[in-house]
């Protein structure tokens, strides 16, 4: 890794840490990373630009976001017996729900975007 990537990563970790602290002491209702996200967003808005190294680190994380889900998802093996017993219900619930969610979100956007079609 180039050394130039380090400052961006440190900044992200600092905001993550800050988020955890705020979550622990002030806002236990919100998970730490979400508070970190909001604080970083506020900082970027005040700063009016994204530091170049943070930009590089953030886009690397976004591009391989999928990798980061693997360890948690492998937990499927632990719940296998329970999942197998209710396999049909779970499969249909997840499938039906995701299809409906995509369809409803897309339809709402399509309908409202027409009413607000100031920008094509």
């Amino acid at each position: 890794m180039e050394l130039t990537l380090i400052p961006g990563f440190v900044q992200i970790l600092l905001f993550q840490g800050l988020g955890e602290l705020v979550s622990h002491f002030l806002l236990p209702l919100m998970p730490g990373p979400v508070i970190g996200l909001v604080l970083l967003l506020a900082w970027l808005t005040v700063r009016k630009s994204v530091p170049a190294t943070m930009d590089t680190v953030a886009s690397a994380l976004m591009q391989h976001l999928g990798l980061l889900f693997v360890p948690a998802a492998v937990g499927v093996v632990m719940y296998w017996p329970q999942l197998k017993a209710d396999a049909l219900a779970i499969a249909l619930a997840l499938l039906g729900s995701v299809v409906l969610t995509i369809a409803v979100s897309a339809l709402v956007l399509k309908l409202l975007a027409k009413e607000h079609s100031s920008d094509a």
Partner: protein, 243 residues
């Protein structure tokens, strides 16, 4: 030959005892997933995360490694989910200028999509007789995994089960989005990306970025907003739904 056997065995014990094996397994499986995805011309059915999860799950079952042991090593990868969530602020910030004129349709779509995701999943699962533990895991499944796991703890359901459902939802959305979006006649990249981000968070964002940058930006905005709103609203609303 027989003299080699204890040596190999010792190496094996050493590897299995350090985080190295879990990390090699996780990253190697993901690498395989990405290679197959590229070879399949980024076909949605060849989802790299699904391939990686299946490979790792099969491997740890075959070598008889308990999940807790695997996770002990793989937690270094898992930890970065938190950092990635914070880093979401960057695409959201960049998208904000574009988004401002579209705040009404985007907020409406997010609220409608988020509600649909919970209600439809819980209703279908209940009708088909799933038990309460399973249904509990469905509440936060459309929120990005690290936030979903936080929400799960707050509403007293299993974080692991929630994460499993969240990732499955992510993969299903990434695989099916193209067909569903074509079916409902959604054409604009920003609308397609946003709808995918609402439904299937991080894995949807990965998929959206690999198809079109504008779709990716809107998907990450949807994922971030869904995470923030979900973290606030789901713990407030769900206890009342359960009466």
């Amino acid at each position: 030959m027989t003299r080699d056997v204890p040596a190999i065995h010792e190496i094996w014990v050493y590897l299995a005892g350090s985080p190295l094996l879990a990390l090699i397994l996780t990253l190697g499986a993901y690498q395989c997933g990405v290679m197959l995805y590229e070879r399949a011309n980024r076909h949605p059915l060849a989802n790299p995360v699904a391939i990686a999860v299946l490979l790792v799950a099969a491997t740890i079952t075959i070598i008889d490694m308990p999940y807790a042991k695997y996770f002990e090593g793989a937690q270094f990868v898992h930890f970065l989910l938190g950092s990635a969530t914070v880093a979401l602020a960057v695409p959201i910030y960049k998208g904000l200028a574009v988004v401002r004129g579209r705040i009404v349709p985007l907020t409406a779509a997010l609220l409608a999509g988020g509600t649909t995701s919970i209600v439809s999943a819980v209703v279908i699962a209940r009708l088909l007789g799933a038990d309460d533990a399973i249904i509990g895991g469905l509440y936060a499944k459309s929120v990005t995994a690290p936030i979903a796991m936080g929400i799960a703890e707050r509403i007293h359901v299993s974080p692991t089960l929630t994460a499993v459902f969240a990732v499955t939802t992510g993969v299903l959305g990434a695989v099916l989005a193209r067909y569903v979006l074509d079916l409902v006649g959604s054409r604009a990249w920003w609308q397609r990306g946003f709808a995918l981000g609402v439904a299937s968070h991080g894995i949807g964002v990965s998929r959206a970025f690999s198809v079109n940058p504008e779709a990716g930006t809107y998907a990450s905005i949807a994922m971030g907003l869904h995470g923030v709103l979900g973290a606030v609203l789901i713990p407030l609303v769900v206890p009342h739904l359960r009466l």
